[in-house]
């Protein structure tokens, strides 16, 4: 059997990965209404402490919380909805 060139292997792998992610992103199981209805404070309590203590809302300014939100979304792999609700809660609780 003829071996595929390296670049083709990489291309196929990337296509598969992005395809998989695309399928997940577009057709992922929607959260149940109970999950979708969770408040920011509840998500803050559940998710932050998975790695560290829950942060005080006073730690950062609203603008800073926006930046921290992106950082934590990429570290802890929060969903977009979770990140938005947690940051909204932290900004409004200062």
């Amino acid at each position: 059997m003829k071996k595929l060139p390296f670049i083709q292997k990489i291309s196929i792998a990337l296509i598969m990965i992005f395809g998989l992610i695309g399928v997940f992103s577009l057709n992922s199981c929607a959260p149940t209404s109970a999950i979708a209805g969770k408040s920011g404070v509840q998500l803050w309590g559940e998710n932050c402490q998975r790695c560290h203590n829950t942060p005080s809302p006073m730690t950062f300014s609203p603008e800073q919380w926006e930046t921290i939100g992106l950082h934590m979304q990429s570290r802890a792999l929060l969903t977009q909805d979770e990140k938005n609700k947690i940051i909204d809660f932290l900004k409004s609780s200062r």
Binding site: F24, L70, S74, Q80
Partner: protein, 409 residues
């Protein structure tokens, strides 16, 4: 008499007019001064408010610092002969670090993360990458990044997050930082959640003794390493996360005896955090397996001969910590942590060793992000390196006390 009364009345009216006029003028002057000061203050506040209005870009400097003291007693035994050494010192490799982290957000779609780090290992860079938040649950990252292998290196290694003063042996070493691209995100899954993280990087390089190094700007073999992790949070309250990771790639340099050497590694991780009254229970575990192809290595004692070994390593840790949730203020800030770590490197290699350690610690949280911790660690290492290669180091027992302060800035 009448004229005198008239005169007095006129004088009185004149005085009243004079006084009233002078007071009015004074009031007008005071009013003008007040109006002017108020206007200037309002103008300054407007300037300040405009300055603080959100723009497209935002730069934030955070980071961490860790500083501590360690006291150790080491007993090494080779062929029945023991030597004892003691050491006391402030910083040592794992236990001192100052790492500012620069987060530069460009709008709401781009984030640049750069974390230089000063430690006993010198001045280095933990990561330097750019993330593009392409879709609600899709992040594309490029640059110098921590590969997604297990969760310890990426999420738990920071001094103020770690529950004990030391890192678990070997666990972080198998998840290096490297140049490449990465796609990651979290996804809802009904009542559950999942997350994915895949990276394509330059790959690690096999060294002349069978160990691996990483982080080369250039790719030594024009092949790439693929690393991926899938995590699932099966409970709706996110208390449990289970993850599986794999890392695959060529690690040999063309033109050397290692040219076709490949590396494969797997990791399994667990994270459970839940309040079980009266404690917050925190359990973390990770098991790493690393295999490298069998190749012949040049003997360190005779460059004309070679030797080989099965290049198989494992690193495991399981950690549990308890923190009271309903106690008074002082006890509420106390946390008790324990960890078992095992790290086995290949028998018959020059760095072969079966190692394990027990760690127990008492943490006092000064705030949600600053902690003073006392850790006791007992380490045992049995060398499995061959005596024929002058690499056998016998049995080592090391008992250490750590007093450490860690903060997120």
């Amino acid at each position: 008499m009448k004229n005198s009364f008239l005169f007095k009345s006129l004088v009185l009216i004149f005085v009243i007019i004079i006084i009233t006029a002078s007071r009015t003028k004074l009031n007008a002057q005071t009013q003008n001064v007040t109006d002017s000061a108020l206007s200037e203050r309002v103008a300054a506040l407007e300037l300040q408010a405009n300055y603080n209005k959100p723009g497209d870009d935002h730069l934030l400097v955070v980071g961490l610092a860790t500083f501590g003291f360690v006291s150790s007693k080491t007993t090494n035994t080779i062929d029945g002969i023991s030597t004892i050494s003691k050491s006391n010192g402030f910083p040592d490799a794992d236990h001192f670090e100052f790492s500012p982290m620069f987060l530069w957000r460009h709008g709401t779609k781009f984030l640049m993360e750069f974390e230089p780090s000063f430690s006993n290992n010198g001045l280095g860079v933990n990561w330097a990458d750019i993330s593009y938040f392409a879709a609600p649950n899709l992040i594309i990252r490029a640059g110098y990044l921590v590969v997604p292998f297990g969760t310890y290196s990426k999420r738990l290694a920071a001094g103020w997050i770690n529950k004990l003063a030391t890192d678990p042996m070997g666990v972080a070493d198998m998840a290096p930082a490297d140049y490449g691209i990465e796609v990651a995100g979290g996804l809802p899954l009904g009542t559950m959640k999942m997350n994915y993280d895949f990276a394509l990087t330059n790959s690690m390089n096999l060294n002349s003794d069978g160990t691996l190094s990483s982080g080369s700007l250039g790719d030594v073999n024009n092949n790439k390493s693929f690393t991926g992790r899938l995590g699932i949070l099966p409970f709706s309250n996110s208390t449990l996360e289970l993850g599986v990771s794999g890392m695959f790639g060529k690690v040999g340099t063309p033109g050397t005896a290692f040219a076709n050497a490949k590396g494969q590694a797997y990791a399994f991780d667990l994270n459970y955090v839940n309040t079980i009254h009266p404690f917050l229970v925190n359990i973390k575990a990770q098991h790493n397996i690393q295999n490298i192809s069998d190749v012949n290595y040049i003997s360190p004692v005779d460059s004309t001969s070679t030797y080989t070994f099965t290049n198989h390593s494992t690193a495991t840790f399981i950690q549990c910590s308890l923190r009271p949730t309903t106690a008074n203020n002082f006890l509420h800030d106390i946390e008790l942590a324990g960890r078992y770590t095992e790290y086995n490197t290949p028998s018959n290699s020059t760095w072969g060793s079966d190692q394990h350690s027990y760690s127990i610690g008492l943490n006092y949280w000064l705030s949600w992000r600053s902690v003073v911790r006392l850790t006791y660690e007992s380490y045992t290492g049995n060398s499995t390196a061959p005596k024929a290669l002058d690499a056998y180091t016998g049995k080592t027992i090391k008992n250490s006390w750590y007093l450490q302060f860690a903060i997120q800035l």
